[in-house]
């Protein structure tokens, strides 16, 4: 695979753009692999890449039931941040941030990582105190965090509602300057291309329909393209983990819920950062094409339908206009839904399972995109060594039995309230 470079752009320009290679091969399944990763989303592809890159495991297949980039990796709002409060989350997401900072170079693929900064508005003195607590924890972990007062926020994002009639007046904000966005499709394509470059077979339109068992172990998978043997199988199918888990007789603390995202018609540059509303669930950034990309709450009831409900469209629009009255006349271009694995504490599950040879990566709730590189890195380590990577020690399945849940929001065990 020829690397992308200024020279390759020039050379291909001179030959009429006719000699670009495929970014990855259209592989057909072999009889067996050392490792099969089920799910060709960001996490699955990153896992395959790091298995080859970090552990020398190259006889790997990624099985994707649809096409690369067609699942949640292409349906999210692309926000990347590491402003987590709880031990276990804080360090994991910061490790992920560091991988994002080097990703375009590591993959030889421009993922358009833009560290434009993210702020969350505070709407009372108490909320700002809470943000101070969070910022201190971040700084103690070597993560950048700043507390802004009302005037600071006004200088940074003057288009928010600073009027006397604001429904929830802005007191200040917490700001992480290294946070930002990346181009989500490029992340999928970049990992797919880099994994393929290491010899990984990426097999699209290949749905896993069952597991081949041998005693308490799994020795392969049944697919729509036939049986494929495997030394180890890693599941990275967030949204549908329960369905595949059930085929492997795993009972999981997961519910599937739909989360909607929205994009407006293109505007001139307005939103220079990622802005999250501290008084309700709404966050927004502006894409390179000019559309405002935003999201809000879950629809709030179990769903495998990749489409949302009008009630949430209305709620999100209300929150948007309460924070940014200036966008009240902007038209919505599209909205869509993605199916999330929601766990009872809104933290992910990455671990070996009670089934020999089966490893689980799921439960990403609505935080999966920012975790993509660290999730792949740590899951690859877990599969290659059979032991959890230290950064995901807190993400075991047994934490619900032992009471060591990581409930960032303090929302209790109802998955739909997280």
């Amino acid at each position: 695979m020829a690397p992308y470079s200024a020279f390759s752009i020039l050379r291909n320009a001179l030959s009429g753009q006719k000699n670009w290679q495929r970014a990855w091969r259209a592989a057909e399944p072999k009889r067996s692999y050392d490792v099969i990763v089920v799910g060709g989303g960001g996490h699955g592809l990153a896992t395959a890449f790091y298995l080859a890159e970090n552990h020398g495991v190259r006889n790997v297949a990624v099985l994707e039931k649809g096409y690369i980039g067609g699942g949640n990796v292409g349906r999210n709002t692309t926000v990347i941040r590491s402003n987590y409060l709880l031990d276990g989350n804080t360090q994991f997401y910061e490790f992920s941030m560091k991988l994002w900072e080097g990703m375009s170079q590591a993959l030889n693929f421009n993922v358009m990582f833009s560290q434009r900064g993210q702020l969350v508005t505070a709407h009372s003195a108490d909320q700002l105190d809470g943000f101070g607590h969070r910022a201190n924890i971040m700084r103690l972990n070597g993560i950048d965090a700043d507390i802004l007062d009302r005037d600071d926020v006004r200088r940074l994002v003057p288009y928010l509602d600073f009027s006397d009639t604001a429904r929830f007046p802005i007191h200040g904000a917490i700001f992480q300057g290294r946070a930002g966005t990346a181009r989500h499709d490029a992340v999928a394509w970049g990992y797919a291309r880099a994994a393929d470059g290491h010899g990984v077979d990426i097999i699209q339109n290949c749905e896993v329909t069952g597991f081949i068992r041998d005693g308490n172990g799994i020795v392969g998978v049944e697919t729509t393209k036939g049986r494929i043997g495997a030394g180890k199988v890693g599941l990275a199918v967030a949204g549908h983990t329960s369905m595949l888990g059930a085929k492997a007789r795993l009972e999981l603390p997961i519910e599937s819920h739909v989360l909607q995202a929205f994009v407006t018609e293109p505007l001139k540059p307005l939103v220079d950062h990622v802005v999250a509303y501290g008084a309700d669930h709404f966050y927004v950034s502006q894409s390179d094409k000019g559309g405002l990309v935003f999201g809000g709450n879950l629809d709030g009831y179990n769903s495998y339908a990749q489409r949302g409900n009008l009630g949430v469209v209305r709620e999100v629009a209300e929150a948007a206009i309460a924070l940014m009255p200036c966008i009240s006349r902007i038209r919505l271009l599209r909205h869509w839904g993605g199916v999330m694995d929601m766990t009872p504490d809104a933290s992910p599950i990455i671990c070996p399972t009670p089934v020999d040879g089966l490893y689980l990566n799921g439960g990403w709730c609505y935080g999966g995109f920012k975790a993509t590189p660290a999730s792949g890195w740590c899951f690859a380590h877990t599969i290659a060594t059979g032991k959890p990577h230290p950064l995901i020690a807190a993400y075991g399945l047994d934490r619900f039995r032992t009471g060591r849940t990581l409930d960032e929001a303090g929302a209790g065990p109802s998955a739909w309230l997280q």
Partner: protein, 88 residues
Amino acid sequence: MLRFECPCCGPRDHDEFRYGGDASVRRPAHDDPDPEAWYAYVYVRKNPAGLHREFWQHVTGCRQWLVVERDTRTHVISTVTFARASQA
């Protein structure tokens, strides 16, 4: 939007209801000392792609708790009954 056929109030809009989660889980007896039974009740869910029995409360109507059977792929509602009359 979902529309529920409330057995007390008739057809009503989704906005009048609050979700209450999976109605097929069984609460262990109050004095059950087995942590595994409580783990299963609090956390483990079948999470089917298909028919799902779930609780909804008609909060801005009759305030009754209902058990609704709904397809999680299509949102087609097949039955709505009072939760008190429903077997888990």
